[in-house]
Point group: C2
Chain length 231, copies 2
């Protein structure tokens, strides 16, 4: 059973897909939105896909306070503003899973290109903006929202995870590994988000060419990716 | 049977591994080096792994003139100088497969970090430096040299290919697909090398954590990745 989680931006494509899969896995999911109407509408949509889902909804700030694990699934152009608005809601000990991607599309450019973030990556920007004691873990940039929302679509891919605290990454991995067909891989420190965030643009380029929803698998790994002793 | 290929920097780790695999696949391989002694020594080493290999060796400039397909497998710190020295040897119609990676290690930094290249990527720098009419295709950044050189190690991973001419990418794919266990994936235009080159650093970070030689597989792709009609 995955631990309870809040999703900031649950009415967006990625947030919605994650909500469907995590609810399907049996987890309690709080669906956060900027707008109460959209939050409620999202609950209805998720419930249509997962009738037995343990769902709640809230404005983003209330959602951020409602669980120790908080997934940030907003477009990059809203990331800084959202984090600014959540400063009063987040508390030490929480983990923010940053899934935002600095696509050039945020500024009217191509979705196969990215823009430079001063801090190095969106995740590092998030780490700079959250209150002290909140840990940012970067993940989910190669997972297709379209594949997530469709429970009939069998997932078969890895989640590339980066963060500075191994125990926090392992906790995020336990959450996301509860989704059938996903496997979390430790890609190193949070600064590696510079690389993993770029992969969204690569996936989009591959998707355009092959008219698919591509994912990534890392080959050559051992069976046990999150040994308890090391966390 | 793969078409003949020259490898610039064949005495390096990646160049050597590619030479072993391509010779094993039955292709004619010209092993280029800056130093005639090292070129000859490399032939001996490749022949030890592939006794029936069709091998020749040459100084880099002669190697570059010896085949229509030329793999550039030099360290990034030597890339610009090497391409400068090859300007008189390369001719229109040739394809240069750029496998160089702008790792920060080139300047004494970490192998899990990269440095910025003004042109956007090492491959784009290569395209700027080769004579007009020579086409640069970017590939091979996620393939472990250690896995390549060991014929007992079964490969099971993708080669991420980027380039501006689809027919040229398809030709490179036909060459590299001749290596058992490798599958080439079209990742888009040459500018996507900005992203694929970064993956070497990501692979190194994963390798350090899991003590392995990781590779990448793209999931969700159709069976036919290089349809002849589209090339």
């Amino acid at each position: 059973m995955p631990e309870p989680v809040s999703i900031i931006g649950a009415s967006g494509a990625l947030g919605f897909g994650l909500a469907v899969r995590l609810a399907h896995a049996g987890g309690e999911v709080v669906l956060g939105s900027r707008d109460p109407g959209r939050a409620g509408e999202t609950v209805v949509r998720v419930r249509a896909a997962v009738p037995a889902g343990k769902l709640d909804c809230a404005l983003n700030a209330d959602a951020a306070a409602a669980a120790d694990l908080v997934i940030l699934a907003v477009p990059f152009r809203n990331q800084a503003e959202t984090l600014h608005n959540l400063r009063g809601a987040l508390r030490p000990g929480q983990i923010v899973v940053d899934a935002t991607v600095p696509l050039a599309a945020a500024l009217g450019g191509k979705a196969t290109r990215t823009i430079g973030v001063w801090q190095g990556s969106a995740a590092q920007q998030a780490q700079e903006m959250v209150p002290d004691g909140v840990s940012v873990v970067s993940a989910l940039h190669t997972i297709s929202a379209a594949s997530l929302r469709d429970l009939d679509s069998a997932l078969d891919e890895d989640v590339l995870v980066a963060g500075d605290r191994r125990a926090d990454k392992a906790r995020v991995a336990a959450l996301l590994d509860s989704i059938d067909g996903l496997r979390c891989v430790d890609c190193g420190r949070l600064e590696m988000a510079r690389l993993t965030e770029q992969l969204t643009a690569l996936m989009i380029s591959v998707n355009v060419r092959y008219k698919t929803h591509a994912g990534i698998r890392i080959t050559g790994l051992p069976d046990e990716l999150w040994p308890a002793a090391a966390s």
